[in-house]
Each structure stands twice: as C-alpha cells, then as structure tokens.
C-alpha cells in the first residue's frame, strides 16, 4: 500500500472482511468506500480513479509476491501523472471479469505496464490539462503538470482534485493518441519504496493469504492421496473426531487425473484451529487405492527419456544444413539430465473460502485470480457473477500460485460444511502432494571447425509438456509445445547450422511452471555445452562466446505465430563484458571461474554471470557470483538488483534440490531433504544493472538458468569433471 493501513473492501453484495494484523493493500476494487462513493469521481480507465478529496486509487492487475511489481507499476503511474506516489492508494484487482484473464508471471509485469498502464493513466493527466485549459479559457497545448496539479503559465495552479468534476464530463481520448513521458523521466524517479510492503513486513502487519480471518471460520488440514490419481478406500473418522477441537471430517473425491485444475482425492479434518486439524488428520489412518500411477519411478522415467533422446523429435528451429558440416570438424556430444523440483514458497499453499447462498468468495495468494474464479464456477456450478477471488500478498509464488488446487479445496469444503474454511498445506504436503517443474533430458551435439568456430549445433529436449496438462488448447496437433521451444528461439550465437527439436512427453506427475520452467534446464544445458565447444576449440570461454556474437548482429526466430524473439548480439556482449569486468575475468590464484549468458523472452532481458569457485582446502567452494543484466529501463533499480540476487540464490538452491518418486510417491518431505540455503551457505552475490533506455523488460526469472550454468562451468573448471545436469551429488 502507499500510505496508511487499510482494510480490504468487499463488493457491496459480498461480505466485508477485516483481517487481523492489518492489510497491506486494498483487496477489492469494485466499489470505492462508502464515504468516497458520495464524492464525484473521475475514472477514465478502470485502472485509475480520482475523487474531489484528492484520493487517488490505482488498481493493479498484477499481484505482489516479492518481485516488486506493485512498486514498479506505482512508479510508472506516479511519473506519468506527475503525482507523488505517496498520494496513490494501491488496489489489488480481484477476479472480477472486467479485469480479464489476469495472470502474474513470465516476468512480464513491467513490460506489460509500460505498454498498457502508462497510456491508461496518462489519459487522466491529459484530461486534467484539458479541463484546466477550459476553466482558464486558454489552449491546452503547452500546459504543464507538476505535483498533482495543472500549472498556468502565469503561475496559477489547479489541483487534480479540483478538476475531477470537469474532467469527468470530457470525452475520453483514444489512449493511442495520448502523449507519454520519455523514458528518461523514469530513471531515478522519486518515491522509491512506495508501493512496497516493506514497512508492513517489518512490523508483522503485512497480510498474506494465511492471515485472512472470518468470524466462525474452520481450519482444515487434508490428508491427500500420496500417488496422483489415487483414491480413498477408508479412514478412521472416529479417531480424528476424538481430538478436541475437531468439528468435521470430510472426504474429498477430487477430480480425475490428468485434468485441468486437478484436485487430489483426500480426507479433510476441519477444526477450531490449525493444530487440532493437523492432530486429527494424523489419526485418520487413510487406506488408499494408488490407482494406475502407483508404480511410477522417476529414475525409470529418466532412463526412458534418455532413450527417447536418441530418436528425432518435433522440429523447433532448423537453420542451415548440418549435413554440410565438413567431415574434418571435431565433434562433441553430451547429455544432461535435470530432476523434478518443487517451488517451496515459504508461505505454504493456503486459501480461505466462504461458499453460501449460491455464492463463493475466496481469499488466497494467487498469481491467477481469474483461473481460480473460472474453476470455482465449473466445480461448484455457480454463475460467474456469484464468484469472487481476492488476492492478498503472496508469500512467494515462483509459479506454484499459478495453480488453483488449494483454492478449490477450500471452496469445496466450505460448500460442504456451510462455514468459512481455511485450507493450509503443511510443508510435507507442499513437497509431496504438489506440482513440480518437469524432469528433462537434453542431448546436445556440436561441431567445431579448424578455425575454432562452431559449424553446427544440435539440441534435443526431452521433457514433460506443462501445456499438455494445463493449457491443452495451446498444444499443436502434433504435440508441439511452444513453451518448450522459447529457449531455443532465444539462442543467438552465430552458428551456420542449427537443429533444435523437442519430445514433449505426457506428464507423469502434476507439472507446473517454475520460475522460468523450460529455460531452467534448456539454457543450462545450452551454456554448459558452450563451454564444451570452447574447450574443443581450445579457446577461453568468454572469448569464445564473444567470437560467436559478432558486433551488430541481430537475429530472430519465431516459436509460434505472433511469438518472435529478436536477439541483439551487442546487448549480450554488453552484459558478458560487464560481468567479466566486475568479476575480474581471467582469474586469480586459487580461484576457478565459469561464465554463462542468456536472453529471456520477457520480452528481452539479457543476463550474464561469472561464478567463482575457491580451490583452497581441498574441497572446491563456490565463493562468489557476479550477475549483470540489461533488462531495459530499470524502473526501480533497487528492486531489479534485489531480483537479480533472488535469481542467483534460487539458482544456487537448485544445485542440490530434486524431487524423486518411488512407487508413485515423492520422497522428499521437508527442508532437510529439499534444502534451502541459509545466509552462511551462500556465496557473495554482486548484481550489476546496466543503464538502458529501452522499454523495461522483466527481471523475475531471466537470470536463474544463467547463474546455474555459470556455477556448473566454474565447478567443471575447478574439478575437471564435466557437468551432466542436476542435482550435484557428492
């Protein structure tokens, strides 16, 4: 929120909820509060509303999960409006259909806001200018605005609040014709920090999904099928009910798997508090029918994927002619395998739902309010206007909260017991009953000519298709999954013959987006392999990369209709050179360095990383990461810097993380076997943000694979053992 503590508002026909611990932002934007509703308002676009008291509400369709989207979008709006950001109240968009199919992900919030939010709010500024000009009887052209007011050339000023009634009577101009501020107006914009939840976080007042409260609510803990698709055979209801505080035991049939928005079968224990619910659940002794997936073994699946990698897949990018590579070229082939991984946000999945009188209302940390809304309509057979999803702050997303399973669970239970119900997943639930970044195998082949240049490169990606499970309408008839082809399209080295293909596999376990998803394996393999090619050429890995990034070169590839990526070699050279310079590439005694780079389609963030491994003491130890990015205009450089560090820590954590399956069951149940790093575990991390006046691109996830590859390359240099994927063992 921008200023004071605010309680969330309900729609007039929905319940008003005041969560304990204060709220971080307004949760619903349907109606202004009662007192403001009396005043005239001016709202030329659903994103922005002004009233005569000077209150300004900015409604954001993007949720805040640590990536800084709220702060960034507030900055864009404040600059475009010439208004102090502290005077703007943020309102979080609900699932109200007027907001469309909203989704927060893909590192796209700022790029999207730059395109859409700026013209929307600039329209308001233009109309205030027009209203002031009419009031003064002078021409609007050339009138300036500053600090929330229109300025007359003679020194008079009219505050926006005083112009609300006049502006509201004017025709809304076409947003395409509205003048916008130049990019340099945003560099170093004042008011940094506004729109962030920092102050509320530090006092404990920041309000997440888990903190939502309603009178009379029950707390639920669910024992879910350990094998996806499994069903309940029986359970000990009496034992669970014997726990003081337990109110009800409710079996959940779930829905078939695979299906859209899958909910596992299980048994829920509902109680007066979370502890009693968990205690009751522990006594259920549920007997399961594991169903057809009860034999799934992730090692066997990895072997099946490796076998599949020997056969041609669906073409993703073919350029030049591999057959034309001269016979005397040196050839190298490598296979890299990557495991399933969990998201493990620190706030476990949870949702509070109240279903009553033919209506459903849910409060939950979600990256996809509308998908949950539509799933509630479908599963509860309700009319669309009888459902509303509110999105409080998210205690981490990373793609997990693009899924709607936990919101559905809460609503199904509330419908059953006719009371508000909060479902809270335990950490074990999150790791063993969740959704996972797909496992994958990558087979790469390359040929290096006598002159040390790469003459040809083939890359085959075998992995489960998230689209196949989650967005089947986006899968081409032959199975082509474009989300698995984007990191091929972002490849930009100057190589005359390329052959990239994919085997999109049927998901074996519930699969989900995971902070970059396909890029987090594909680009890692790509950049580890680039070091193999450099070694074959006998060239320094940095010099080798630069040699294949000729100055001025631009290339592009289209992974689907309307989905083209343009690669600018100069921008990649810029981040490589910046990272190398900051790290002191070339090395120091006792330090092994590795480098990697990558372009991410959000729409075009370039990152490079130098990783350093200290050799002293026998065991190599990762000591330092230097990450450089060119993500276009850094609207809030401090947040971009924080996100770069976040990418690096996420990549570091992934080195030892894996979810494995035996007899259909995930084997990792806690942070003891799915580790997250402590401060002492981490290397030094330095983030370099290059200045740019290109439109903002994203920073939420682009650097993760780049950092991972740089680390693997540094470890390979230090130990002489070439990487074969993740997790690292030993």
């Amino acid at each position: 929120m921008a200023t004071g503590t605010l309680a969330p508002l309900g729609r007039r026909d929905f319940l008003k909820v005041v969560p304990l611990g204060g709220a971080a932002l307004l949760l619903a934007g349907r109606l202004p509060p009662a007192e403001a509703a009396e005043a005239a308002t001016f709202s030329p676009h659903m994103s922005i509303a002004f009233d005569t008291t000077g209150a300004v509400r900015l409604t954001l369709r993007k949720v805040e999960m640590g990536q800084g989207a709220h702060q960034g979008l507030l900055t864009l709006a404040a600059v475009e409006l010439d208004l102090d950001p502290a005077r703007i109240t943020l309102v979080q968009a609900t699932s109200d259909p007027k907001f469309g199919q909203i989704l927060t992900g893909g590192s796209y919030s700022l790029a999207g806001g730059w395109m859409a939010l700026r013209p929307a709010v600039a329209t308001a500024r233009l109309m205030f200018v027009q209203a002031a000009a009419a009031r003064w009887g002078i021409a609007a052209e050339g009138l300036r605005t500053a600090d929330g007011a229109v300025l007359h050339p003679d020194g008079r000023r009219l505050a926006y609040a005083a112009l609300v009634a006049d502006a509201a009577k004017l025709p809304v101009p076409d947003a395409k014709t509205v003048p916008l501020k130049p990019a340099d107006a945003f560099a170093g914009a004042a008011g940094a920090g506004h729109g962030s939840p920092h102050a509320a976080v530090a006092t404990g007042a920041a309000c997440y999904g888990i903190d939502q409260r309603l009178p009379g609510m029950l707390f639920a803990s669910i024992e879910r099928a350990p094998v996806v698709g499994g069903t309940v055979l029986g359970f000990d209801e009496a034992a669970a009910k014997a726990v003081p505080g337990v109110v009800a035991v409710v079996p959940l049939a779930g829905n078939a798997w695979p299906t859209l928005d899958h909910v596992r079968a299980g048994v829920a224990v509902l109680a007066e508090n979370s502890w009693a619910a968990q205690q009751g659940r522990a006594r259920l002794a549920v007997r399961w029918d594991d169903g057809p997936r009860g034999g799934f073994d992730s090692d066997a699946f990895k072997a099946a994927m490796a076998a599949r990698a020997a056969t041609p897949g669906i073409g993703c990018r073919r350029e030049g002619d591999l057959a034309a590579v001269p016979k005397d070229a040196r050839r190298v082939e490598r296979t890299y395998a990557f495991p399933y991984v969990a998201h493990a946000p620190l706030e476990p999945p949870n949702a509070l739902a109240w279903v009553r009188d033919g209506r459903a209302e849910v409060w939950t940390g979600t990256q996809r309010q509308r998908r949950l809304h539509d799933a509630l309509v479908r599963e509860l057979k309700l009319a669309g206007d009888k459902v509303l999803v509110h999105a409080p702050l998210l205690g981490g997303g990373f793609g997990r909260r693009l899924e709607v399973d936990y919101g559905l669970e809460a609503a199904l239970l509330s419908a059953k017991v006719k009371r508000p119900v909060q479902v809270l997943w335990t950490r074990g639930d999150d790791l063993t009953r969740g959704l996972y970044r797909p496992a994958s195998v990558h087979r790469l082949v390359g040929w290096v000519g006598q002159d040390g240049r790469v003459l040809g490169h083939a890359h085959r990606y075998v992995g489960e298709s998230v689209f196949r499970q989650q967005e089947p309408q986006l899968v081409r008839a032959d199975g082509y999954d474009f989300s698995m082809a984007i990191p091929f399209a972002t490849y930009g080295y100057d190589v005359p013959a390329l052959d990239f293909d994919q085997h999109p596999m049927e998901p074996q376990v519930p699969c989900a987006w995971w902070r970059g998803t396909a890029s987090t394996t594909l680009q890692v393999a790509q950049e580890c392999f680039m070091d193999e090619l450099a070694a074959l050429a006998g060239t320094d890995p940095l010099a080798f990369r630069l040699r294949h990034l000729p100055k001025g070169r631009e290339s592009s590839w289209s992974y689907m209709e309307g989905g083209a990526v343009t690669f600018r070699a100069d921008l990649m050279r810029g981040v490589l050179e910046a990272a190398a310079k900051a790290a002191g590439w070339g090395g120091r005694a006792g330090v092994a360095q590795g480098i990697a780079c990558g372009l991410y389609d959000c729409p075009d963030t370039y990152t490079a990383c130098v990783a350093e491994v200290a050799m002293g003491g026998g065991t190599p130890r990762l000591s330092r990461l230097v990450v450089a990015t060119d993500c276009g205009l850094a609207v809030n450089p401090d947040r971009v810097q924080a996100q770069l560090v976040s990418n690096a820590v996420f990549a570091f954590a992934s080195l030892t993380q894996a979810i494995t399956f035996r007899r259909g069951r995930a084997q990792q149940e806690s942070f003891a076997d799915f580790p997250l790093p402590t401060a002492a575990d981490l290397p030094e991390v330095e983030a370099v943000v290059l200045p740019s006046t290109r439109p903002p691109s994203g920073i939420g996830e682009p650097a993760t694979p780049v950092v991972t590859a740089a680390i693997l390359n540094a470890l390979a240099k230090a130990t002489g053992r070439r990487p074969a994927g993740l997790p690292l063992v030993g």
Partner: protein, 150 residues
C-alpha cells in the same frame, strides 16, 4: 485447559491443549498472525519469537513449556515499528515477498541481545532462517547496520 501467558507485555489467557505449539496459540487463538508458519519442523525459522529475550522457534514449542516466560512477537518488538532492526530492514529493502521476514527480524533481535556488535560471519552463523526469495545477503547488511546504529 486454561493457560496464562505473557505476550508482548500483556497477560493473556487461552483455553488450549497443553501440547499445542506456541505458534498456533499466537496465530489461531490470540490473533497475532505476524508470526508465520513455514515448515512446522523447526527448520525454516519463520515462526521465531523471543522467549525471555532468546530467539526461539515457536512451531515446536508446546504451550506447556512456555510457562511464565515473556513472549515477544514481531507485533511487540517496538510500539511503532522503529526498532533499529525494523528501520534497517526498511532502509535496506531486505524483504522480497516478506513472508519469512518477521522470523528473520526476531532471530536478529535475539542475536543482538546476546551479542550487540556481531560481525558478518557472526550474523550468518547465528541466523539460520530460510528464505526462498534470496533476502539473505541484505538481511546480513541490515543486521550489521542496526547493530552499528546503536
């Protein structure tokens, strides 16, 4: 069973199972939701509170073991959010999603009571809380700044 508790300087009474961990007493019975649930296994530290000034993970601490100890939660660290750690947290922009941060701040508060001038290695060794977003490096800076500012 009724239990008396001293939380943030106030006497509170709850009716609860003596085995109920303090975390759930705070969150579900007393409405103090600033203390967070992250793992329930004492691994992540999101549930850290002060018990007579000592940083303690509340998710595994049964109510019966709290006794007469003074419990301080993030809501009680300062009356107005101006504890040096809270100020340093905002100034350094430590939080990303922010969820694990109350536990981090309380762990830091416990550290500074025991050791008012830790060095970076001391902070890293003492604060073993987990964060998925990568706030750890700035956390160390903020704790050092808060310690230096006293």
């Amino acid at each position: 069973m009724r239990h008396g508790l001293l939380v943030n300087g106030e006497r509170r009474e709850v009716e609860a199972d003596p085995d109920m961990p303090l975390l759930w007493v705070l969150r579900d019975l007393l409405g103090l939701v600033g203390t967070k649930f992250g793992c329930g296994q004492g691994q992540c530290g999101a549930c850290t509170v002060l018990l007579d000034g000592v940083a303690t993970r509340s998710c595994g601490l049964p109510l019966s073991a709290v006794g007469t100890a003074a419990v301080t939660t993030i809501e009680g660290l300062s009356p107005d959010g101006t504890h040096p750690l809270q100020r340093a947290w905002v100034e350094h922009g430590v939080a990303q999603c922010g969820y694990c941060q109350p536990g981090m701040i309380m762990a830091a508060a416990g550290l500074l009571r025991q050791q008012p001038k830790p060095d970076a290695d001391g902070v890293k060794a003492a604060i073993t809380n987990l964060c998925r977003c990568g706030s750890q490096p700035r956390m160390v800076q903020a704790v050092l700044a808060a310690a230096g500012g006293r």
